[in-house]
Symmetry: C2
Subunit: 501 residues, 2 copies
């Protein structure tokens, strides 16, 4: 091992431990902690976060990074060491430019702002959130400007935190393509929406049985219960302490069969990514998914491409019918498959179908771009939001709770995150095009054999952690970098067939 | 605030945060973490423990403690500051004398040793545990000798970690009294054991209903679900992150009605102690129960004195019958009260009734004393254990799993802990004698009103945290220090009545 890397190890280990503790507190807060605990426990988290900053952002680490970047250029480091230094350098760059007092003030603000958002959403009162929202935006603009390279726009800085391979230029092209192809398709589909019956989905579904079936689904896809657990929370999410401890949550709705099932498939996709990272990267900075875009590709691949296919349900649909015979005994597999793929314009992103989903993302992307280009006032955002929903989806929210207040991301200052969802869907289609080339996917699914698909993703994507970025992975697997054509073609094919257009 | 105390604050805050993180990892390990996680997460816990040591055990803190002890003697500190310095001094003394490498080696050993114990118990093979047990004992002897004051025996050092007010001398007197009074009483009771029927307790009791009823019981006694949660684990326990986040676990057995009910009452007693500590002490070293003896007094007070009384069950027994009408519809309240107080000699401490319980503790105390006085070889311990069970309880374990291997404590090196259970029972009786003097306890219980009892304990015991030790608390509440007569009299009165002796 390089001498400089050896010197760096204690910093890496300590910051890993502190970060793992922060993750556990976050998990606990969302799944277990009692109501009154947060105010006191936040003091603990604050101290641990400060220690994390002190451990990583200091002159000793700065010098070691500089030295190790030189050694990397001279090819004196192993691939693993290079990957770790690259991630460390990224984290260092993100944090060092922000004065510690501003960073602390911002963290306090997000906590207040998130609570204001929750109240605003509950009371359907945007004005409760607006003043905090303004401050959050100011901070994010300032932080991004500290970090922006010459000529780089602040929004570009934020976007690249979630997906380094795609900036404004690439996303504009991607989303223009979606708009051109998907908006007209959605209009055609909408006209035929009555041809698919989905009333069965909204009958009463016992929650204990939902939990049991969801657990079965997760295991069926490959979730390893020796390395992970499933819990319950207000919104489903995935969180890992390391690749041998990957946790997902789910949310169950009594009058909605699909909701929990596709949430668990989605989160299982995220979990498989983390569980399958190579053990040589365990508990290092390189031991996690390479980007949010790539992560969402894994969850949306399983949720939509696999999870909504007839072949996937062929061997297991009977089990679902047996779980709820009173509701499903007259619903054929074909009927069910049409139901779970039914598309209609709707107001809520998280409940949107596969076809209309990217339009929800485009709306957020365009609004974020305008915010960071100072082209819109915070007070005008609800209006802008509603106009865009009318323009792209043909419907207008009747209130802000179902409109601009629906997502939690902005209350935490997470700007630039939303595109990851659409990028993920597109990457999933690009990977799928390759997978069907190299193996008889449908046949495997019909046999209930998901192992070859899981192993393909493990060996070509998951195991690398952050050692390769999105475009490097795509290039190595599919022979080309990110290409949204696969996604557009996939959606067109699928929905033209489904609705016999 | 004293200037020296101000200088100490960052050390106190940081060590509090690291300790809270350790507690959360422990909670998570017992209640949630997936099977494979432990080996990797232990690295994280190790690093956090090292940081905790580094933060507290250093020359700066040593100097500040010295200075602040002087200031305390000169009465320049507030009571709260004094209490914190006293606890810090105790922790410092415990840790500083042990060389860090020995401390780390011991922590690694306990982890291995605990696993060996679990295997030994499972396979009923003492020899699997014995070699680790020997090492654990050697370490504990060495650590205790580092810390022993002149003329102090190592076992005395360990005992006082759990209850500073009672050493070997006091415990010898306490346990001699028990032996003289309780051993003969138990023999009389054993002869009449057939007069109480308890078969109803071992019918089938649906576990979901048990969970629901136990939750009800906990809330009925006063558990505040805004400040706490109940989870499930292999062995019931209580753990707090601070006084606004107090967690208990329970274990449910399908063919045993009592087990989970009295476990939850017991743990709720511990939880109320922690929840009721004054907010001025929150997240300080003084913000926890003052000793294990006093802690066990609170749990055993609720479990036995309150929880096994007729008055307690009078308003709620119907609810229990309604939960399990098929099993309990013919069991009268009087029958049930006799059942939950039935006494017979048994092999397992955690399942022992209130009367025979202290004899299980005496056996462990006497064996621990011999171990630390080098009077017995580790290989001879199973034999010694069995002899003592025959002597005090009149029965002999048929295997080591039900004998010397039954408890987990020794595998972690927790010597000197067991007496706390008996001390706790005795303190509970002493407090109860005072409580019946100052309020109509039975009347309150029959009305379903537990508030006055809870408030009495809160205002006289709980709120002080560690600001007063056991004898100070007892002196202030009952006008005398620890006195085991109350316990002996309580047991004699209760069991003579119950068995009409």
């Amino acid at each position: 091992m390089s001498k400089a890397f050896e010197e760096l190890m204690p910093y890496l280990d300590k910051s890993m431990a502190l970060q793992t503790a922060r993750s556990l507190f976050e998990w606990d807060e969302q799944t277990m902690a009692p109501f009154e605990a947060a105010d006191y426990t936040s003091k603990v988290i604050g101290i641990i976060s400060d220690e994390y900053m002190k451990c990583l952002i200091n002159d000793d680490v700065r010098k070691l990074i500089k030295k190790l970047k030189d050694e990397a250029r001279q090819d004196k480091l192993t691939d693993k060491e290079k990957a770790i230094i690259k991630e460390l350098d990224k984290t260092f760059e993100q944090l060092e430019s922000i004065p510690p007092d501003e960073y602390r003030a911002f963290n306090e603000l997000t906590s207040i702002s998130n609570r204001a958002w929750a109240k605003a959403k509950k009371d359907n009162d945007y004005q409760v959130f607006a003043p905090h929202f303004k401050k959050i935006i100011e901070y994010k603009k300032k932080f991004a400007s500290y970090r922006a390279k010459k000529g780089q726009s602040p929004y570009e800085v934020l976007l690249k935190d979630y997906e380094e391979c795609l900036g404004i230029k690439e996303l504009d092209i991607f989303f223009d393509k979606i708009k051109q192809e998907i908006v007209p398709l959605l209009k055609q589909v909408s006209k035929k929406s009555d041809t698919i019956d989905k009333t069965y989905n909204f009958l009463n579904y016992d929650i204990d049985k939902q939990k049991e079936f969801c657990k079965y689904l997760s295991g069926y896809i490959g979730f390893d219960f020796n390395k992970g657990v499933i819990a319950q929370s207000a919104h489903p999410f995935t969180l890992q302490l390391h690749n041998h401890d990957v946790r997902i949550t789910n949310k169950y709705i009594e009058n909605n069969l699909e909701s929990a099932m596709f949430s668990i498939i989605h989160e299982t996709g995220h979990a498989l990514y983390e569980m399958n990272i190579d053990d040589s990267l365990t508990q290092t900075l390189a031991g996690t998914g390479t980007s949010m875009g790539m992560h969402e590709s894994q969850s949306r691949f399983y949720e939509n491409i696999i999870g909504r296919s007839k072949a996937f349900w062929t061997p297991i649909y009977d089990k679902l019918v047996d779980t709820y015979p009173e509701n499903l005994k007259n619903i054929t597999l074909d009927h069910f498959i049409k139901g779970i793929n039914k598309s209609e314009p709707s107001l809520i992103r998280t409940e949107a179908d596969e076809l209309s989903y990217p339009l929800h993302i485009i709306i957020r992307y365009e609004i974020e771009k305008m915010i960071f280009a100072d082209e819109v006032d915070v007070d005008k955002l609800p209006e802008l939001w509603n106009e865009k929903y009318q323009e792209y989806l043909g419907i207008t929210p009747t209130n802000d709770a179902d409109g601009i207040l629906q997502d939690t991301h902005w209350s935490f200052g997470e700007f630039g995150y939303f595109p990851s969802y659409a990028i993920g869907s597109a990457i999933a289609s690009q990977l799928y095009a390759k997978i069907v080339e190299v193996m008889p996917v449908e046949e495997y699914l019909e046999e209930g054999n998901l192992t070859p698909i899981r192993e393909f993703l493990r060996d070509n994507i998951h195991k690398y952690g952050t050692s390769k970025n999105t475009n490097q992975l795509l290039k190595d697997v599919t022979d080309e970098e990110f290409n949204a054509d696969y996604y557009v073609n996939y959606l067109k094919d699928k929905y033209e067939k489904l609705y016999e257009l």
